[in-house]
């Protein structure tokens, strides 16, 4: 039977999959860039590569946050300060990617689309984080009502 726990486990498995994908991308990115974007020229390719590798730490931090978040959800630790912290971290990761893509978007315009997407994701995550923080406060108040 498909339950919310199955969904959480599936999300965690997908996150692990993304970790592998990101690792593979980090190794193969220079070759992929040279193969698919040869028309960009060496100078622009270097800038795109720099943008990608600048985004990688944020991507790793986000993936680790999601993994820990899903583990907490599986262990029924949802409305805690740690969850709020992970959500905040995720939003900052997205904000970092948005900033990097915005900066390098001046050299290669398609990156501006990524910047817009990441900025919108940051906004959504900030709202979710605020809702979660309020829920944690309400839960704490409820627990301390005798």
């Amino acid at each position: 039977m498909y339950t919310s726990m199955t969904s959480a486990r599936l999300t965690r498995a997908l996150t692990v999959g993304f970790c592998v994908l990101l690792l593979a991308l980090m190794i193969l990115f220079p070759r992929l860039l040279a193969f698919y974007f040869a028309y960009l020229g060496a100078s622009l390719q270097q800038k795109v590569m720099l943008a990608f590798y600048l985004c990688c730490p944020a991507a790793w931090a986000a993936l680790v946050s999601i993994l820990l978040l899903m583990t907490n959800i599986i262990h029924d630790r949802v409305f805690t300060a740690k969850t709020v912290f992970f959500m905040r971290l995720l939003s900052w990761c997205c904000a970092w990617v948005a900033a990097v893509c915005l900066g390098f978007g001046f050299f290669w315009a398609p990156l501006l689309v990524f910047a817009l997407g990441a900025a919108f994701m940051t906004l959504i995550l900030r709202v979710l984080k605020s809702v979660l923080a309020r829920a944690v406060a309400i839960k704490e108040e409820n627990e301390l009502t005798i």
Partner: protein, 71 residues
Amino acid sequence: MAIVVNLDVMLAKRKLSSGELAAKVGITQANLSILKTGKAKAVRFSTLDAICQALDCQPGDILEYRKEEQQ
């Protein structure tokens, strides 16, 4: 907090232990401890009613308002 819980004083006056009061009121000792130490954020009327009944006192005997001094 400006609201002080004087449960210890009333328990001493009535010569009751925390465990006995918790059993009479129908709450856990952990919750009673939260109440006694002033960590509680709110008290249900039903709990207050049960405490007053068990200790034969008024809510004012248990709860006290103290104006906080501004630093």
